[in-house]
């Protein structure tokens, strides 16, 4: 069993959170409040010392030193612009000054959209379309299970293409989902359901991993019982 007070505190807080699984109780509420408070405090301190202090305060201090000490203008004065935008964002806390925060917000939305417009389109649209279509023409197998075919087919790529196409048909609402369109859309639903099932399976694995991590901590690091 660990003699480290930090391990003990973490173990007791873990048990306090787990106690909610039985029923809501004061111990859980205390642990939850501690978690929320510590998280908020951590992020506040972290953001101050890793963003505001080094990037705003220190840069402006150095820029001011250069300007007033040596008469040299330094491009780091631009951080003042970012600082002003940050202050404008806080104006939303004022009852009558809320509209001021829309300006920095517009700046953020505009720069983000500009930054992402090409990169996102390239990485998550054009490249995906490329990878869905191009392999169809590549080398593949000339067999269907055990039967030889007179031509080569890249089955995996064909499957991906069929899933993409039928899935898109399902979301194409300009045509009534009847007859051919309806049948294709139904196949698309099947692909979507398999996709959601795979995502659910991975989510279960992810959550179980977190539980395993906590159990390993309790029975391993804290109690020293597990391997």
């Amino acid at each position: 069993m660990s003699l480290d007070p930090g391990i003990w505190l973490a173990a007791l807080l873990t048990l306090g959170i787990f106690s909610f699984l039985y029923r809501d109780n004061p111990a859980y509420k205390v642990c939850e409040a501690i978690f929320v408070g510590v998280s908020a405090g951590y992020w506040f301190v972290s953001l101050f010392w890793q963003n505001i202090w080094p990037k705003l305060v220190l840069n402006l201090r150095d820029a001011a030193g250069l300007l007033f000490g040596h008469g040299v203008w330094d491009p780091r004065w631009l951080y003042l612009f970012a600082g002003i935008l940050g202050l404008m964002m806080l104006m939303r806390l004022l009852p009558k000054g809320g509209w001021i925060s829309r300006w920095p917000l517009a700046f953020i939305v505009g720069t983000t959209a500009g930054l992402y417009m090409i990169t996102y389109l390239q990485s998550n649209a054009i490249s995906q379309v490329h990878d869905t279509l191009v392999p169809l023409a590549g080398p593949g197998s000339g067999r269907l299970l055990f039967l030889p075919l007179p031509f080569a087919v890249h089955w995996n790529a064909l499957f991906v293409f069929a899933g993409t196409f039928t899935g898109l048909v399902y979301f194409f609402f300009s045509v009534e989902h009847k007859r051919l369109a309806g049948g294709t859309a139904r196949v698309g639903i099947l692909f979507l359901m398999v996709t959601f099932g795979a995502s659910f399976g991975y989510t279960v694995m992810s959550r179980m991993s977190l539980l395993i991590g906590r159990m390993d901590f309790l029975f391993g690091q804290w109690l020293g019982l597990a391997r």
Partner: protein, 286 residues
Amino acid sequence: MSLLDRVLKLDRRWIFLLVALAVTVPLFLRIEQKIEVTPESRGIVRALEALPPGARVLLACDYDPGSAAELQPMTAAFLKYALSRGLRVVVMGLWPQGPMQADLALQEALAHPAVAALAPRYGVDYINLGFQSGNEIVIQRMGSSVPAAFPRDARGRPIEEFPIMSGVRDFGAFGYVFSISAGYPGTVEWVQFAGDRFHAAIGSGTTAVSAPLYYTYFPRQVTGVLGGMKGAAEFETLTGFAGKGTAFMLSQSFAHIVVVLFVVAGNAAFFLARRRRAATPPEVTP
């Protein structure tokens, strides 16, 4: 009360208890589970194998303790493998706690006999550049100047002091970029900016929740994907550095069996109850 009614009215705390047992009991068992390796994991090892000793790899630890159960085994295994092969590892993080997690993994890796035998030195064979705020903008900046994005290491010393950073200008200095990612910023941003824009070779280690999203990048935009704890176990199997990823897979399997059984039982009970309701004649009110 029939069995069907019992199943339908089962207190969910019994499920919690069974899942807890399924996860905990295997931690005490000494059963080895065979790990099937997927092409997505093999792709990462192949890319690393192709690098000559002395090549630099960039390890981006973009996660926090909340995802450590899944991602820490990956980080540790990656560091053990890379350092034991004589690769030079540059660690950084776009999440504040990422480099701290990397430090823990480095301690574990440096204590491994295969790594300790080579006695890697800080600043020469590996370095931790720490956290830099700015999310994807940091990656963008690294594409033109790594020293501008990371002028100092995690301990606050200028990076010019370290031989490992000598001649590092942009992503061209790195033979491989491995993004261990728990969300934003993470693998998506590394693929978009470092991979597709600056043509860096990228590998992704990610939480299982994110894995289905990142598989779409394989094999052209990323050379491989390690999805969750299973991905870590696969990497450990391939590299021979068995660690917690492999050890925890038995718990993972037991838990999945319990979940699948309850999904089947729940569905069976639902359909049986629906059939029973349909067979029951409606009450006629006078």
